[in-house]
Amino acid sequence: MVKTGSLPNQLELLLSNPHICKAGRSVNADLLALQKVCRKPAGSFCGAIDLARLAKERNIVTDISSTTLADLAALVLKRRLDKNTFLRTSESWENQSLNADQCLYAAKDVYASLMVYHEITKCYPLPSPLLATTPAMTPVLIYASNMEKVIASGTLSLQAHLTSFDGINITHKHALVDVQRIHTPGAKVKSHHKRTLKSFGDLPFVIVCERDQLRTYKPLPSQALPSNTTMTVVMNQPVKSRDSEFIHHQSQADFFDHESELDGLISVRESLSEDLSGPQLTTFSNVSHTETHSTSIEEPKPSRDQLADLDFAEKKLGPDKSSELKSDQSQWDHETHSRVLKDPWHLFHMIYLSASHSHRKQFTRELRDAFFIPNKYDYQRLNQWGAMQNPPQSYEKLRNTSPEWTRTRCRHTIPPPHILYPLVRKVFLTYGTIRDQTTKQILFPTDSQWNAARNILDLIQRGYVSDPPRVSLYTQLGIDQKSGLAIYRCARGTNATEEGVHTHIRQWLPKFGVSLRHVQASLLDFTIRHNLLVILLTSSWSFNR
């Protein structure tokens, strides 16, 4: 069968009309695909305008290939374009009749394309050469000498009257620029004896540029310079700090001891199983959970050092994305954001801390309390029982002294992302730079802890950690005969009470070089043994032994 299908002639006319510009993201690919199906010669269908290219020319985005239509809609239109991956990648676009969701999705995409085009062309003129009359403070782009690439951006300096700067004579061909953002740290500045931009140090700084290499432009409204237009998905791998700010702060990180003793490290997960009671040590912002706004720091007045620490922590953790989540924190979220979830116990395994740090336990407590919200009913029951004990106990005490015991007797919920994110971020901000009382080392001494913290925040923000609504994770196993409290089994992640099979399997396999046959036999034996015993191990009977 030869594929020589053709499109309705009016449609072909439209596609091949160069005066009809087709604006969209990756339009070229769309046109090429149609061209191929119709067996038209190359270049038949023309008039493509790629919106990402259009945006890059105006310095709205820095990278074409990673910019999506949704990014542009957010940047330019301040609107969220829902890209439902399931629909987009469905296999039903060839159906005889499209359903309402499909139509809406298809229509939104193309409507957004047109709106983005109009908005860009209306509000963001192409960067234009400097005029003699261009006033100070005008935003400018600094191009590489071949004019192909933007190396930095800033504003024309107020110090235009200077005749020399940094030993360079300023002629009518030059202009002073306050550099506010570096795009290419390695780029060399000709007028400064080919110094690299990186070598100028902290932003902002002033450099002398040739006027030819400057273009005025309209920057995006400042708040909307999100790093996530260029940010790629980073998960379970060390975060590479791309932004120049991070590179600058690497040197600051060097100040802290990188070679912290490895054997003294303990993961937060391990800490969660031990006795977590201990004195509440002071932090400069005592975290209280009634607060809703995460980054606001209140009394006691922080010292300059503490502010510097906080600033450092903010930079290490990356931009606060809580503003991108739903804002109403009093409102519980009843949406399922993902049915594939990060095992929370594994999550706590991502951060390793110095076991001897004076604030480790306190940090672990705070982090745990941000994640796990006790069930009201179980909480009350536990407290009622605790009040009758001698000495009296309470949920707050028990969860520290007997964490495993409490976990099997009180159900907990991990709150939805827009509530969890700010809480956890605040714990990281507060404790990441907290210093040990004797050694003065901070709790997160190396990048590995900060990266883990960033990854955790990222997972939370995507909704991969919060409990799924309307899914019952707990099963009541029975009643604890000693306390009369219900005993639960939790299906969240690998079972917390039982430690899960995954950690056990290791020690149950043959240790030394053996045949493949034997390892497979052992694994099979392990499986059947485990599956037959697990009911006994997790039944209430085992708690009443």
Binding site: Q10, H19, L34, L77, E94, Y111, R339, V340, L341, L509
Partner: protein
């Protein structure tokens, strides 16, 4: 010591009155309750050992005793409700006799296995009844936890099957084909796991499984077993030596009575203990073949478990150290995966262990993954999806993972994970983009209606040659591969255009298809 698969002490095949040398019979099938398992089979030309007299004498006595059958055909032992012959304890032997030879204290335990007493057994070949021919001329040795016991068996003959090489067709009473025909209530009483020539007790075998599961290797286990046997033997030796001492101090001092030496455990002389424990290789082989025979059942058991809330885990640490292949098995597997390998002591073959557990913490999948590619466990996951349906379980509603990179793979394997999911969009803080009410959306499919729609745009192209801009997009079918990447994308299915206050969705795929078919 045990590199060739032998254990400590004389092996079974070294006895000249081994079953193999039994001239009267032909075994159709390999012996042993575990098919496919052949213990160390080393043919040695040298003279075979004689089973010691203390053993054969007792054996003959018990066989003779068992010939006296009652009206139901039961030997005296079975009449008393016993499978095991009672054994006198060394204490009583020493108490009764002033002079005792060490071998009198060995007191072998005997087990009588003659299931034909309880059931008619039909011939595995011709299904006609078997008859008892005679006892098997030598006892069968079985190693127990700290001692050895011996089994007395019978040869069952089929009178109907044609002769093979002029010999009649017979079966030993513990032949696995015979065992298969017996009711489970009866076979449960059978105390041994047999290989071709050797055997260990069921209790010891199950204990070995537990040991292996708790990280005690086969080498260590073989050593433990050997030590346990030595210990039990030494206890008898102490009893004997204390007895000798007490005799010396009494009247024997004057009578000049000589006492025999208590021989070493492994002594194979006529009065030696002929002590034996199997090698680690043999034990491991028994274990492996047992599990291989039961693989089907274990997998079946696993397949029937639920899986509504699952947790998937890849342990990469597990086997880096553990699965180091040696010798022959190494070459075959190594060749495939050499790229991943860089180890000091041996070569790493597997990069990970994949486990999936359900909400009850039961293991639903437990597989080694040989390469980093996901395709390895896609199969395992797909089988899980199918078995959940097959056994009437719900498809997973939640999947916990230690690696969020699995998300797409899991979602494509289990479509149930898509149900009612509203992913968090990148710009959740922004209001959603909606099409205003004054914008009309048209869906067009026929040639004519598409032409009509498009011409409304064409008619607005300015005469002066200036440009007109429309929003443009197209959609096509996408097939997602198991790893979450686009496997293939189909040809353009629809074309969308936005112009002024109108949005057109043009279904062009069908038109293109129609024309294809006409040709």
């Amino acid at each position: 010591m045990d590199a060739d698969g032998a254990g400590i002490g004389p092996r079974d095949e070294e006895y000249s009155n081994d079953d193999e040398n039994d001239p009267e019979a032909v075994e159709n099938v390999e012996d042993g309750s575990l098919p496919g398992n052949s213990g160390p089979r080393i043919t040695r030309p040298h003279t075979r050992l004689q089973q010691p007299g203390w053993l054969t004498d007792e054996f003959e006595r018990l066989v003779k005793d068992s010939k006296r059958r009652d009206s139901e055909g039961l030997p005296p032992l079975y009449q008393q409700g016993l499978f095991w012959f009672p054994t006198r304890a060394p204490f009583f032997i020493l108490r009764k006799n002033s002079h005792v030879d060490p071998h009198e204290l060995y007191r072998p335990r005997f087990f009588l296995w003659d299931p034909l007493c309880f059931n008619d057994i039909s011939c595995p070949n011709c299904r006609r009844p078997l008859t008892r021919q005679q006892h098997i001329p030598a006892p069968r040795r079985v190693v127990d936890i700290n001692s050895t016991f011996w089994m007395i068996g019978y040869r069952y003959r089929c009178h109907h099957c044609p002769l093979a090489n002029g010999r009649s067709v017979t079966f030993r009473s513990w032949n696995c084909q015979i065992m298969d025909k017996l009711p489970t209530q009866l076979t449960t009483e059978f105390p041994a796991c047999l290989s071709h020539r050797s055997g260990i007790s069921k209790g010891l075998f199950e204990f070995m499984r537990s040991c292996f599961q708790n990280g005690i290797g086969s080498k260590q286990f073989a050593d433990m077993l050997w030590v346990q046997h030595l210990l039990a033997y030494s206890n008898v030796k102490i009893q004997y030596l204390l007895h000798v001492e007490s005799r010396r101090e009494s009247m024997d001092r004057w009578s000049g009575q000589k006492f025999a030496n208590f021989k070493p455990f492994e002594d194979t002389g006529p009065t030696g203990r002929h002590g034996y424990t199997p090698s680690s290789n043999w034990l491991r082989d028994m274990y492996d073949s047992f599990l291989e025979t039961h693989q089907q059942e274990i997998n079946q058991h696993m397949s029937m478990l639920s899986g509504d809330i699952c947790a998937i885990d890849h342990s990469h640490k597990v086997n880096c150290r553990n699965v180091l292949l040696r010798n022959s098995s190494k070459q075959s597997i190594n060749s495939k995966v050499t790229k991943h390998i860089a180890r000091v002591n041996g070569e790493q073959v597997f990069t990970g262990l994949l486990t999936v557990t359900n909400s009850l913490s039961e293991i639903r999948i437990c597989n080694f993954v040989a390469t980093k590619s996901h395709s390895q466990f896609v199969d395992a996951l797909s089988r899980m999806r199918e078995s959940l349906t097959l056994y009437g379980h719900k498809q997973p509603i939640i999947f916990y993972t230690d690696n969020m990179n699995d998300k797409q793979l899991l979602e494509s394997t289990f479509p149930s994970l898509h149900n009612n999911v509203i992913p968090i969009e990148k710009y959740a803080h922004l209001p959603a983009l909606n099409i205003p009410d004054d914008v009309q959306v048209f869906v067009k499919s026929g040639v004519q209606s598409i032409n009509d729609a498009v011409s409304t745009i064409l008619s607005e192209v300015p005469e002066d040659g200036s440009e007109l801009v429309i929003g443009f997009d197209s959609e096509w079918n996408v097939e997602i591969g198991p790893q979450g990447f686009v496997r293939s994308s189909g040809p353009t299915a629809i074309v969308q255009m936005a112009f002024k206050k109108r949005v057109y969705i043009l279904q062009v795929r069908r038109l293109l298809l129609l024309r294809e078919c006409k040709l």
